[in-house]
Amino acid sequence: MVRTALLVAGKDLRQRLRDRSALVIAFVAPFVLAAIIGLAFGGDSAFRATYAVADADRGPVAAGFTDGVLASPGLRDLVTVRRVDTGAARALVERGEADAAFLLPAGFTASVQQGGAATITVLESGENPIAGQVARSLAEAYAAELAATQLAVRTALDASGQPPTKTEARRLGERAAAGRAPVQLVEGQTGGRTIEAANYFGPSMAIFFLFFTVSFGARSILAERRQGTLRRLLASAASPGGVLAGKALAAFTLGTASVLVMWLATTLVFGADWGDPVAVVTLTVSSVLSAIGITALVVTLARTDEQAEGYSSLVVFTLALLGGNFVYLAQLPELLQRLSLLTPNGWALRGFVDLVADGGGLSTVAAPVAVTLTVGLVTGGLALYRARRMVMA
C-alpha cells in the first residue's frame, strides 16, 4: 500500500507540475493577489491616525482627555498626538496633516465642575473618514463618561445636602478621565500591535488558494475513472486505499509547498513576518489537512468533473468570504466575525494573525490548529468513506 501510495503521489505531482495553470494557482496567484489587496488596503491593517489637540483649558478635566484617553494603552500606539494651539490645529486639519483636531475650549474644566455641558469640538480633514469617525467617538464617549460621572457625583452631593467643594469637583474630572476609551475594537483584534498587509494577506491568500490547489487530489479520482486509468490501477493489484492515500499525499505535498512558498516569498519581497516558524508550519499542516478533507468531501458528492469543479468553487468562495480571506477580519461586522469561526479558513487566518499580533508560539495557535485538524479529520474521514465506494463502483 505504501509503495502504491508513493507511486501514485509521484505520478500525480508530476502531472500537476506539468500543468501551468496548477502552478499559477498554487504559487503565483496567491502572491500576486496578496500584493494587490495589500496595496489596496494601504499596507497596514490596523487603525492609525494623527490628531491635533488644542487644549485652551489646561485644567484637570481637559487633561483627563488629552493625557488620559488619547494616551491610554489601547490608543497610544495607534494615535499620533500633536499638541498645538487652536489656530495651528485648524491649519493642520485643513492641510490634511492631521486627520482630526480636538479643540478643548478655555473654561472646559470649570464648566464641568459647575455641572455644565462639556463641549469638545472635533474638526475632521475628511481624508481619513475612519480616523474622523474614531475622533468623534472618542469625544462623544468622553462627554458621555463625564455626564455619567457628573450625575453620580451630583446624586451623592444632593444626598449629603452639601455644595461641591473644589476637591470634589476635581475628582469628577479625574474619574471621567479614568473611564474606558472606546478603542476596544482595535485593541481587541491586534493585541495592541499593528498587522502589516503582507502579514495578513500573505496567509489569507495562501489559505484561499490552498483550497483550489488541493482540490485536484480528489478531482483526479474522477478524471482517472473517466479515462479508465483507475480501472487499470486496480487491475494491477493496487489497493483502493493505496490509490487514495497517494492522491491525498500529492495534494498534501503541493498544498503545503504552496503555503510555505508564499511564506518565503512575502518574507523576502515584502519583509513580512509570519511569526514563530514552528507554529507557522504546524498551522500550515493542519490547514492543508482541513482543505484536503473539505474539498475531497465536496468532490465525492459530484458525479462528473464539471459538477466537482462547480461544487468546489462554490464552497471555496463561500468559505473565503465568511472566513475573512478578502478583508480584514477586524473590519467585518461582529456577526460576520462570529460566522468566520464556522469556517476552517477563518480559524486558520485567526491563528496566523494571532501569531503576528501576539508574537507567541505553538500555544498561540493551539485552538486554530485543533479546530482545523478536527475539520480535516472529520471531513477527510467522510470523504475517504465515499471515495472508496466511488473507486470500487
Binding site: 502504491t4 507511486l7 505520478k11 508530476r14 502531472q15 506539468r18 500543468d19 479515462q227 479508465g228 486509468t229 480501472r231 487499470r232 490501477l233 486496480l234 487491475a235 494491477s236 493489484a237 493496487a238
Partner: protein, 314 residues
C-alpha cells in the same frame, strides 16, 4: 491443450439488479494459447473479464490464474495478469516513456529491469521514436498500441485484451493484431474479447461464443463449424448448358443442393475444397465452361447466426 491452463474459470455468474449479465461461464486458456471470447456488444464479455481480473465482485464461480485462486490470493492473480482495457487507459499529459515506467513500477518493476523492458516493449509496438512525446499528441492507433504495451510490459502469464481494436484505423488494427499474434510464440496465454469475427478467426486458437451472458459454444474454428453442421457455398460462373451442369453437380457425392442462377450454378456442399476437381470435371462432361469459382466456407459469423438466430453485430 498444452500443459496445465494459465487461466481456469468455472461457473462465473454476475447479476446487475434484474439483469443476469453472466450466467455460468467457464473456460480454460493454456500457455501460448489465444482464446477468443466472441459475442455481440452487451453479451457479457467485459463483465466476464472484469471478474477474471478481480475488478468486479463475482456472484458465483471460481477463477484460477497461474495456479493462484482469485478468491484466496487476488494479489498474486492480478500480478500474473496483464490487463488491456477497451478504452485507452493512459495519462495523456505524460509521455509514452513515463506512462510505461509508471505502469511497470505498479507491477513491481524497477531499475535496470524496468528500463530494459520499457525499451524492448516500445520496440515491439513500434513507438521508440515517439517515446518522449506526450501520449495526448499520439494518433489513436499509437495510443492503442501503447495501451497494449502497458499491459504486456511486466511479461504477464495471461494477457487480457478487451476489444483492443475498437475504433482503430485498418493500419493500426493490423499492427495490433500482429503484436497479439506474436504473443502466443512467447508462451503468453491471451484472452481476447471481440465482436469482430475476422479478428477471432485470425488470432484465436480457440473461440468461446458468448451471448446473453452464456457461453453457448466453444472450440477451434473448425470444431465449431463442424459442430453446427454448416456447409460450404460454391458459386460457379459458367457458360453453356447450365442446367446440365447443375444436374451433373447434384449427382456428385457431397453435394446437397445445386441450382441454376444468373450466369452460373450455385451449390451447397460438404467439404467444398475436395469437391472442386470433380466438379470441374463434371462441368466439362456436361458441356459447360466454368469461368470462375468462388468457394465460401462457413465462418464464425455463420456459426453465431446458426446458434443464436442473429448476426454478431446486431
Amino acid at each position: 491443450m498444452n500443459g496445465s491452463p494459465v487461466l481456469w474459470c468455472k461457473d462465473l455468474r454476475k447479476r446487475f439488479k434484474e439483469r443476469l449479465a453472466v450466467d455460468g461461464v467457464g473456460f480454460e486458456v493454456a500457455p501460448g494459447e489465444t482464446y477468443g471470447l466472441l459475442g455481440p456488444n452487451g453479451a457479457g464479455k467485459t463483465t466476464t473479464i472484469s471478474m477474471i481480473c478481480g475488478l468486479l465482485r463475482r456472484d458465483g464461480g471460481e477463477v484460477t490464474v497461474a495456479g493462484a485462486s482469485l478468491g484466496h490470493d487476488p494479489g498474486q492473480v492480478k500480478a500474473a495478469i496483464g490487463y488491456v482495457p477497451q478504452d485507452v487507459a493512459l495519462y495523456p499529459d505524460l509521455s509514452g516513456l513515463e506512462n510505461l515506467r509508471f505502469w511497470g513500477r505498479m507491477y513491481g518493476l524497477a531499475g535496470r529491469d524496468l528500463a530494459e523492458r520499457v525499451e524492448a516493449t516500445l520496440e515491439v509496438v513500434g513507438l521508440t521514436e515517439r517515446a518522449g512525446d506526450k501520449v495526448g499528441d499520439y494518433s489513436g492507433g499509437m495510443q492503442r498500441r501503447l495501451n497494449i504495451a502497458a499491459g504486456m510490459l511486466h511479461r504477464p502469464r495471461l494477457l487480457v485484451l478487451d476489444e483492443p481494436t475498437a475504433g482503430v484505423d485498418p493500419q493500426s488494427r493490423n499492427a495490433i493484431l500482429s503484436n497479439v499474434e506474436a504473443l502466443g510464440g512467447q508462451g503468453i496465454a491471451v484472452l481476447y474479447t471481440t465482436h469482430y469475427m475476422e479478428e477471432a478467426e485470425r488470432l484465436c486458437d480457440r473461440v468461446g461464443i458468448i451471448d446473453q451472458g452464456r457461453l453457448i459454444a466453444e472450440g477451434t474454428r473448425r470444431e465449431l463449424v463442424a459442430r453446427v453442421g454448416e456447409r460450404d457455398r460454391i458459386e460457379l460462373a459458367a457458360t453453356g448448358d447450365l442446367a446440365a451442369l447443375a444436374a451433373a453437380a447434384a449427382r456428385l457425392e457431397g453435394v446437397d443442393e445445386a441450382s441454376v442462377v444468373a450466369g452460373g450454378v450455385r451449390l451447397v456442399a460438404r467439404d467444398g475444397r475436395r469437391l472442386l476437381p470433380r466438379l470441374l470435371e463434371a462441368a466439362e462432361h456436361a458441356g459447360a465452361e466454368v469461368t470462375s469459382v468462388e468457394l465460401a466456407e462457413p465462418d464464425l459469423e455463420a456459426v453465431f447466426l446458426h446458434l443464436t438466430g442473429k448476426a454478431l453485430r446486431d
